[in-house]
Assembly symmetry: C2
Homo-oligomer: 329 residues x 2
């Protein structure tokens, strides 16, 4: 098992990414041949040595990176040797089993989609994140790969999310909920209505529309949303959690610590990363603000994704439910 | 100043609504002639007497109510004497200066829109809620009146929200942010892009797109969203706050109390209510789960709305910025 790591993307790259990598090696959680690093070789070697690592992993040498503010497609065109592109290439060629990138999400999605291609039958990728709710972990997707999906894309998110929750969270026949602003089947825009109709007629364990106030209360194991709503929800929760932790300063250190622990389990920024589902390969999207500890969690997460082999399961799910899928427009 | 109160709508109606009304009277915050109650007269009289109120406010006697699960238009058609309809009628006829309803939000919006009409020039109403962030209160609208607004509706939300924040929160030239999934002007769907273009070219204090993680960090004073996203965001925050308060049980009572206080200021369910902007009258939408204390807060809020006379300001704002408004499609 080998993970390609984009060392250059992310708010605290390359310093914190390399600290996380160093931790992974020094604790022997990862062997040196289990990592493949994309970034400037001299800098990587120097930083890892500094951190006490003697045996340096293989490096895909580059100093090109797609910055957070760059438009993904333009960035990819201008920088053929961008660190994320090299990671995708390594997975495509079999030099790595999965990759993790902490930089420009759009560039990671575009690069992976173009470089790896889609899983057979899947039309659009979706980003799945696992959060902790009142009754344990749940999956929310899509959190930003496709802000304007069609009903058949949404249906496939349900399929992919179901396979993911089974494999990664060990939940049998995961309950699928459609994130909406009302419980009735007639709520929301036409995409939500059509998706609801297809899921209700189909064979997945669909529990219907779920409103936002029940996201954390355990009404479903997988919440399906379009990439705009999913991203908004995820970021609002993140911002609200941060706001509370800051406000807790005035309440004293014990309250702050307790709160920090509670929101950490629910917040994406504390989770290892999100998985890009639908592409033909394992791609983990790390949070841009990851520091060394989060990098280490992300490395664990991508290893788990590789080990579980959810992609085969997704393709099987798709075959089994092909008749239920709404027609492409 | 007189407020019409729908006693029959809401999860804890009529009991908690009447308890709140009783508090308002017993504490002399409201005089008896400042309230007008819509609901079953005998029951209202009995309950208020029971609570220690001797001088009973005037009642619009009815036992018709539009339940939370009813479709607004169908409910309004079937129940011409629904409590919310009587409240709207009282405002329309000048028997009350404003109304508050805790029941079916869609029915309140539809009834107010049809019964009061729109403010001159305003095309669609929007629901504005005030929450507490890191740097004080901010306004979020629309939180559910119109899930699929056009750019000109969104532009008018900005105008209305600006007037509202000036009048109700005392903020001069409020900073207007467009809730979006990225900071760049090109982010989001076509409605967001067109709204962004119009606001950027116009004369309101527009600060651009704001991502969800900055909702509580004080980047803007007024956040504009479509009714789907606004409602989802509000409910997710509510659900997350509830989840945290429950989880805090395990952390001990002091943590729980501290958290309860912190999330209360940020959460809609603890705020008095949301204001329906754009209709020709003062309409407060109370949270469905309001208990007596929240009912009292809501009564205070509607009085403040009446006193501040934001509607005149909205019409003036509209006149001043008419040239900037995107064309109706």
């Amino acid at each position: 098992m080998r993970v390609a790591v984009d060392v250059l993307g992310g708010d605290y790259a390359p310093g914190e990414i390399l600290k996380g990598v160093a931790q992974a090696l020094l604790t022997e959680e990862f062997r040196v041949d289990e990592l493949l690093l994309a970034g400037p070789e001299a800098l990587i070697t120097a930083k890892l040595r500094e951190a006490g690592v003697s045996d340096i992993p293989a490096v895909l040498d580059t100093d090109q990176v797609i910055e957070g503010h760059e438009k993904p497609i333009e960035g990819l065109r201008a920088k053929p040797k961008a660190s994320v592109v090299l990671c995708v290439g390594a997975v495509k060629q079999g030099a790595a089993d999965g990759l993790i990138a902490f930089g420009n999400t759009g560039a990671t999605v575009a690069s992976a989609t173009m470089g790896l291609g889609m899983l057979k039958g899947i039309r659009r990728p979706g980003i799945a994140v696992t959060l902790q709710g009142a009754h344990g972990p749940f999956v929310l997707l899509d959190v930003g790969a496709n802000p304007t999906p069609k009903p058949n894309h949404m249906f496939q998110y349900a399929l992919m999310g179901s396979a993911y929750a089974e494999d990664l969270l060990g939940i049998e026949r995961p309950r699928i909920g459609l994130l909406n602003i009302g419980g009735e089947a007639t709520k929301g825009n036409s995409v939500l209505k059509e998706t609801h109709a297809a899921l209700a007629a189909g064979d997945l364990n669909f529990v219907g529309n779920v409103e936002g106030n029940h996201l954390f209360s355990g009404e479903a194991d997988v919440y399906v949303a379009d990439g705009f709503v999913g991203n908004m929800v995820l970021k609002v929760v993140e911002g609200f959690a941060e706001f509370l932790v800051r406000a807790a300063r005035e309440q004293g250190e014990s309250v702050r610590e307790a709160l920090r622990g509670m929101v950490g389990a629910a917040e994406f920024s504390e989770v290892g990363g999100a998985t890009l589902l639908g592409v033909d390969g394992v791609v983990l999207i790390g949070h841009g603000r990851s520091k060394a500890d989060a990098v280490l969690s992300a490395l664990r997460a991508v290893r788990k994704d590789v080990d579980k082999g959810v992609n085969r399961h997704i393709v099987e799910n798709l075959e089994a439910h092909r008749e239920e899928e709404p027609a492409a427009e």
